[in-house]
Subunit: 77 residues, 2 copies
Amino acid sequence: MKVYVHVTLKKGVLDPQGKAIGQALHGMGFDEVGEVRQGKTIELEVVTGTDIKRIEQMCEKLLANTVVEDYRIEVAA
Amino acid sequence: MKVYVHVTLKKGVLDPQGKAIGQALHGMGFDEVGEVRQGKTIELEVVTGTDIKRIEQMCEKLLANTVVEDYRIEVAA
C-alpha cells in the first residue's frame, strides 16, 4: 500500500525557501500571492497491512525533525 | 484562500534522495518499506477567488520543472 508523509515547518519557524518563492512570484507579477511556505512529501510503498504506528516511528526517527517540523500521515486508497 | 501545490518527479525519473531515505529506513530495520520517492509541497496563501488558471501559470513558470516533474493543485476548504 502507498503511504504519504507530509512534512511541514511548524508555525513560527522561519522558512527562507518559501520566502524566496514568494518573492520570485511577486517579481513575475503574481501579486495575488501572500505567504508561501514549502514542505516536503515522502511517498512510501509499504507492505499492505503495515501498522500506522510503524509509519509514525519512521517519522519520529528519520523522516521529520520534530523540533521544527510537523508531519501528517496519509494512507492512499 | 489556501492552495497547495504538490510537485513530484515523473515516473521513470531517478530519485536519489528517495533512494537514500529508503536505504536509511532499511538500515534502521524498517523492512516493510519498498520504493520511496520524495516530492515537495508548496503552500500558497492567495487572494480569495483567484482563478486556478493563475496557479497553473505559477506552476508552469516557476514552481515545477515540467520536464521532469508533475504537479497537482489542491485548494484547501
